[in-house]
């Protein structure tokens, strides 16, 4: 018995070692790049979607080591405190500003990214990268409201509806300080792009008023809550609201008339990248209309690439929620980087509000 066990064990170890070394060898690839993206943020070949990363590997014969993160802050921590060499990262707008300020990303060579010409003008020279030196936008979206039409007779069209006393006990709120404060600040007539501690205090007061009306603070549980008719109204990202609506016909998505947060996720190359050339190829590949559309069909956010609409799902591209009209976008704001002290202060206040 023992003999069999030891034979089995050694076989297993051999197998494990083999997979490891197979992983280490580049297996006929001419180089590799390390990509660090949001979780579930690229078409991965499931259902009928393309596998865009694999298509890239085949096209350029470059191996992609694809790893994922969950928040911008997490990305920042890993970039600033470890020596891990990522070649392409996907920070959001305000995080780009911080990374540029701290010299953690490098200037791009746009001559190697011919598809950059296809980026819609609105998404070039954004305030976080005013001369377009460091970034190529990957996706964009706004925050919106979703409500269940069987649970309220009103037609909510403003962030104020999240403070509606008639819906007490079935309102959801972001479990994410920056997004929650943005909503409260808009209602207090403060610009959420950038703010001071005093303005945080004002918004805190507003959020405290909302606390007793709330069912709970959520992030991804919002899908289950809304789709299963457990809550009446919630703020979330428009692309995700679009998904909820396809799963539950009673849900309605609206763009609040007060305007909302326009956020853009970008592709950047960190300072200590090892395969800068491969990174440029990757960015260019993902910026082609076909690939951008393939990815956006999967994540249901909006593509910043001209010509992508030809390859987008019919329903998605006609959705006003995912692709708001220009007039609406003019009412939106983007986040600026906030100094660490104020940011920490906001987070502390938010924890107090939630408890």
């Amino acid at each position: 018995m023992k003999k069999y066990l030891s034979i089995l064990l050694s076989l297993v170890i051999c197998a494990a070692c083999a997979t490891v070394f197979a992983g280490c060898g580049s297996g006929g690839y001419e180089g590799e790049i390390n990509v660090y993206n949001w979780g579930e943020y690229v078409a991965d070949g499931s259902e009928d979607y393309e596998d865009t990363v694999e298509l890239f590997e085949k096209e350029y014969n470059i191996k992609v080591n694809y790893t994922t993160f969950e928040t911008n802050e997490e990305l920042y921590n890993i970039l600033s405190s470890s020596n891990s060499a990522y070649d392409v990262i996907f920070p959001s707008d305000y995080m780009v500003e911080k990374l540029i300020a701290e010299d953690l990303v490098q200037k791009l060579d746009y001559s190697k990214i011919p598809n950059y010409d296809k980026i819609i003008d609105r998404f070039k020279n954004m305030q976080y990268d005013p001369k377009s030196e460091y970034t190529v936008p990957y996706s964009w979206n706004v925050t919106g409201l979703v409500y269940n039409k069987t649970m309220t007779d009103k037609k909510p069209d403003s962030w104020e509806s999240l403070w509606d006393k008639d819906l007490e006990g079935s309102i959801l709120q972001f479990n994410n300080s920056r997004d929650a404060y943005a909503i409260a600040m808009q209602l207090c007539k403060i610009n959420p792009s950038t703010f001071t501690k005093a303005e945080v205090d004002k918004a805190t007061k507003k959020l405290k008023e909302q606390r007793p009306l709330l069912k709970k603070y959520v992030m991804d549980q919002v899908f289950a809550e809304m789709e299963n008719n457990q809550a009446a109204i919630a703020p979330y990202y428009a692309g995700d609201i679009y998904t909820m609506m396809t799963n539950n016909k009673d849900l309605v998505g609206v763009l609040p008339k007060d305007g909302s947060n326009l956020f853009v996720d970008n592709m950047c190359i960190p300072k200590n990248a090892q395969n800068v050339d491969g990174a440029h190829k990757f960015i260019d590949f993902m910026t082609s209309p076909e690939m951008s559309a393939a990815n956006m069909n999967y994540i249901t956010y909006a593509s910043p690439v001209k010509g992508a609409e030809k390859f987008l799902d019919e329903d998605l591209k006609n959705s006003e929620l995912v692709y708001p009209p220009d007039e609406y976008l003019d009412k939106c704001y983007t986040f600026h980087n906030i100094d660490d002290e104020t940011y920490t202060y906001m987070q502390e206040q938010f924890v107090k509000v939630m408890s």
Partner: protein, 266 residues
Amino acid sequence: MKKLGKIYTALIMFFMYMPIIVLIIFSFNDGKTTVWKGFTLNWYRDLFKDEQIIGALWNTLAIAIIASVIATVIGTMAAIGINNFKGKKRLLIQNASNIEILSPDIVTGVSLMLMFTIAGVAFHFQMGFWTVLLAHITFCTPYVVLSVLPRIRHMDYSLYEAALDLGCNQWQAFRKVVIHELMPGIFTGFLMSFTYSLDDFVITYFTRGATFQTLSVQIYTMTHQRISPKINALSALMFVAVIILMLIINIKDRREEKEQEQKVRI
């Protein structure tokens, strides 16, 4: 009273296994949500097509197996060594090994990341498979020490001396008597290391570097959007694998017990 006991057991079982049953059921759900939309095997098909998840699964298993085997060897050696110390010295070394178990994972993780980063800059290497492996061996070893030490203390030292008297050389006596006596403890230590390594998220998260990802990290980062039902499918398969493994072990134990009983009767 008996009835009450039964109800109590049923309740406990319900709370322990209901979540897993729900998860398995929803791995067959035709749709990404928690609303039942009909039966499908698509998630299983997609799971095996998803190189990301399958790759992460292999990484997780490779790390768990290699780390637990090495930790078992090191831990057993350490336990025997510690046992040979006397008095204060022994207490000191034993506690030094236990502190690693008591200290929070986040502390271990961050400190390992710092150390690997500094060493990486000095010796030009990147974090990845090897750093995760080293980290896992580090936190697994104390568990092996913890489970082997009590066995050594209960071992009858004269058995070892008897083996020497009867013609074994030291190595043979060690292998055939000492290791044999310690085997249950070593096995427990191995199993514990294996499960802790499979389970670990925090330490892996900090030491994985830019090229390496295990299952726990992968699942964690999915929560930004929504955890894919492919993960339900994978969890269901893993659960079934564990059940089969437990069944085999139990049946084997049962059989050995019976054999022993028969021997005693003879």
